[in-house]
């Protein structure tokens, strides 16, 4: 057996508060397609970013082609023969294909004068290699996503990469485009290029990969030959044992969610991201929406809230239709959204806790348009006590709080507004374990008080642990509703990762 092209040996990497990679070892044989799978936060991206020179490892060694890899920038990694194609493509859209491929090393005839002929010729050769039928001077922005991806691959080939890392390359492609991409990947393999392929879509992985490595919680669970394993086995490896006790606080009673319907969503569509979604939410219920990144879960709650314009569909709160024109309408009628992006959409970082907390409930702390500072302070103190906020006082800037406490401030803002329905989009993202557990408790308490809660999380076990009922989303549609004993991580993952039918 020949020596592997890539040998990762005992690599560690820590971020503040998280051990992102914990003794990771992995071999990738030359000329193979090696799939890397795992849930969000398993460490796949961190590992790939280390390979691509974006992060530096804390410990461990990486041998590439027999030499220790010490790339400290994406450029150096590329020169060494490793190219990464990110999920969100990084091409400048206003340039031509030829310019974007050779950006930074455009052939010249001296004195900075571009050798356009050579540039066109070299670009045309590359485009033929990836079977993209476009002229070298076409602007990248005029291509569809699938073609842009091929341009990225062409760019990687132009560096004579031996290892090509593809992160979720098919997430924006339809089936035909995916088939084309696979043909090209197999072609590359024939020409001796090694591919590391990251995807959530297991069916695709079984179609394309020779070997599959599963990661979980920063470790490698195992590597299997694709021909010798099954979809079920891989899902089991990905999910492992779920931490039952961890969610105890969030668990509802058997009768949770048997109350009357509080929110009715009918035929809701939002551009191409949400397709004809209908469901009911009950009083006292925590309804989980499970789905992968890009499944449309965030877009769904944003459309319910009116943050984005709906294409079609209606939302009824306690039987009354809620006009979708503006978030202010939703807030006034009693719907609240805790957005996914805490720093940019949730909190006002450079304002005080006092100001943040009362922002959506200003009528509670004002009279005739004048803000009553004392009541504002009281409200902030009341909320801080209720949510066990760790802060020096109501006048502390939100920026100076930890992530978990910042999130508590945003939750406070909505509790102060006394909503009837609370939409939570990944409320525990980027916060530590203790605060997470506290937030589960808060969610359950709110439901017990009669609110309807919709809960989204990028961590599958969390959705399962906290929700009374689960809707599984894929490609903008709700494909299944699970309740009670039907809920299991394997089941949800199977549904969420399956291909379009």
């Amino acid at each position: 057996m020949t020596r592997p092209l890539l040998e990762i040996q005992h690599v560690f990497k820590a971020f503040p508060g998280v051990q992102a990679l914990d003794d990771v070892s992995l071999d990738v044989s030359a000329g193979t397609i090696h799939a890397l799978v795992g849930e969000n936060g398993a460490g796949k991206s961190t590992l790939m970013k280390i390979l691509a020179g974006i992060y530096r490892r804390d410990r461990g060694d990486i041998l590439f082609d027999g030499y220790s890899l010490a790339a400290t920038s994406a450029r150096e990694a590329r020169m060494a023969g490793i190219s990464i194609i990110h999920q969100e493509l990084n091409l400048p859209l206003n340039l031509g294909i030829h310019q974007s491929i050779f950006l930074g090393r455009i052939p010249t005839r001296g004195f900075g004068i571009v050798d356009w002929k050579a540039l066109d010729r070299q670009t045309a050769d590359l485009l033929r290699l990836v079977q993209l039928d476009a002229k070298p001077r076409t602007t990248v922005g005029s291509l569809n996503v699938a073609s842009r991806q091929l341009v990225e691959i062409a760019k990687a080939l132009s560096f004579e990469s031996k290892l090509l890392i593809m992160d979720e390359p098919t997430s924006a492609l339809n089936r035909q485009e995916t088939a084309t991409l696979f043909r090209i990947i197999r072609n590359l393999k024939k020409n001796g290029v090694t591919v590391i392929y990251i995807s959530h879509r297991l069916e695709e992985i079984f179609e394309i990969a020779d070997e599959i490595t599963v990661m979980r919680d920063g470790r490698v669970v195992g590597t299997k030959r694709a021909a010798e394993t099954s979809h079920e086995e891989i899902v089991q490896m990905m999910t492992g044992k779920s931490l039952v006790d961890f969610f105890a606080k969030g668990r509802g009673t058997a009768s949770a969610g048997s109350g009357e319907v509080i929110l009715r969503v009918r035929n809701l569509s939002q551009k191409r991201l949400v397709n004809n979604v209908s469901f009911d939410l009950h009083k006292g219920e925590v309804l989980g929406i499970a789905g992968l990144l890009g499944s449309g879960r965030t877009e769904l709650v944003k459309a319910i809230f009116g943050a984005d314009k709906r294409t079609t569909g209606d939302v009824f709160l306690e039987g009354t239709r809620v006009d979708a024109s503006d978030p202010s309408v939703s807030v006034e009628s009693g719907i609240a959204l805790l957005p996914e992006d805490r720093k940019n959409e949730g909190a006002h970082l450079d304002m005080t806790i006092r100001e943040n907390v009362s922002l959506s409930a200003i009528e509670r702390v004002s009279r005739n348009g004048f803000v009553l500072r004392k009541r504002q302070t009281e409200l902030a103190k009341e909320m801080a006590k209720k949510l066990r906020l760790k802060a020096t006082g109501p006048e502390q800037l939100v920026r100076d709080l930890s992530g978990g406490n910042q999130q508590k401030v945003v939750i406070s803002k909505w509790l102060a507004a006394r909503p009837k329905v609370l939409l939570l989009d990944d409320p525990t993202r980027g916060i530590d374990v203790g605060a997470k557990s506290e937030i589960y408790g808060i969610i359950r308490e709110l439901a017990n008080q009669g609110l309807g809660v919709i809960f989204i999380s990028s961590e599958m076990p969390e959705v399962l642990g906290v929700s009374d009922r689960i809707l599984v989303m894929r490609d903008g549609e709700i494909i299944e509703e699970l309740r009670g004993d039907e809920i299991s991580e394997e089941r949800v993952m199977l549904l969420a990762t399956s291909n379009k039918t």
Partner: protein
């Protein structure tokens, strides 16, 4: 300066004796940088009185006040716009429009001062409404929308006046504009009134709270259920309304409806706001900051005049001081 609350920090750390001295030092440093501008202003006053014995005379001080009152009124409006994250380059144009409108409206409806005043203020506010709608509903960049409106308003002023200053027949305007009440110039009294009302609205009302929120994080404000489009539009209406008031004050001071008074005025106004410490981009600052900024620029201008320095170096200096103020702010942000 509303975030200069070192007291909170000091109180909370009494339990944590070890770090006390260190944090007290930080708190002191913070408050020093918070109040740095007041130190600068104080130093400037001392320097000015040493350089020119005429500086600290009653006559000179009231003169300084009268000179920067008009610019200051416009700067209060600009403060609202900048705090909310925008910029208004149309203030000079709107001021010129309003200035010319005084004799023009007077020629149509007669010499009723209240009627002329209302007509000018309403017209100004309507221009601001148009600008605000272009920005909030039409989603234009504030920079370009207000630059366009500036040309529109100034052009209208030149059309209405046939390009020439119109002398006011009614002398009551000049008498007011150059008169005193309680020993203080009337225009300065108006400015003080605008400062007080402006500061109270900003610091005490729901509207003011929303203005800060908008400048701090527009998307989070929108998702909090605040009607951000209305809010944004309102800041431009306020700015244009105060620019129109400034135009009335200008007419009263010079006794002429002059279409050229607004040229280059936006620079002075923005300088006053920015030098006062209000952050371009929004979220930080206040009307009091603007008073300070306007005062610093007013005193500087006065010192230059007292020392008989020609206006051209003054212009260079003003440009440099804006750049320095923004640079200072930028460096502070980066340090944090």
């Amino acid at each position: 300066m509303e975030n200069g609350k070192p007291a909170t920090g000091v109180k909370s750390l009494s339990a944590n004796g070890e770090k006390l001295s260190q944090r007290a030092l930080t708190a002191f440093k913070r408050s020093f940088s918070q109040y740095a501008l007041w130190w600068v202003f104080g130093g400037l006053l001392i320097l000015a009185s040493i350089l020119s014995p005429r500086f600290l005379t009653y006559r000179n001080i009231t003169n300084v006040f009268r000179q920067f009152s008009i610019m200051g009124v416009l700067a209060v409006g600009m403060t609202y716009v900048i705090l909310s994250g925008g910029i208004d380059l149309s203030v000079g144009g709107v001021m010129a429009f309003s200035c010319v409108l005084v004799p023009v409206v007077g020629g149509v409806i007669g010499d009723s001062i209240p009627a002329i005043t209302v007509a000018c203020l309403v017209s100004g506010a309507l221009l601001g409404l148009a600008t605000g709608l272009f920005i909030s509903i039409g989603r234009l960049q504030p920079f370009i929308a207000t630059l366009g409106m500036s040309a529109v308003a100034e052009g209208l002023a030149f059309i209405l006046s046939n390009g020439r200053p119109i002398i006011l027949e009614d002398l009551r305007w000049s008498r007011f504009g150059n008169g005193y009440s309680l020993g203080i110039p009337n225009l300065a009294l108006l400015f003080i009134g605008v400062i007080v009302v402006g500061q109270v609205i900003l610091k005490r009302t729901v509207f003011g709270t929303y203005v800060y929120a908008l400048g701090n994080n527009e998307e989070a404000t929108r998702l909090s259920g605040v009607r951000t489009r209305t809010l944004k539009t309102t800041t431009y209406v306020i700015s244009a309304f105060l620019a129109a008031l400034g135009g009335l004050m200008m007419t009263a001071r010079i006794g002429v409806g002059d279409p050229g008074v607004g040229t280059g005025y936006a620079l002075d106004v923005i300088a006053a706001v920015v030098v006062g410490g209000t952050r371009l981009g929004g979220g930080f600052g206040s009307v009091l900051n603007t008073l300070l900024g306007a005062s610093i620029i007013g005193v500087l201008n006065n010192v230059f005049n007292l020392l008989n320095i020609s206006p051209y170096p003054q212009m260079v200096f003003k440009g440099l001081i804006i750049i320095a103020a923004v640079l200072f702010e930028e460096m502070r942000k980066r340090r944090e």
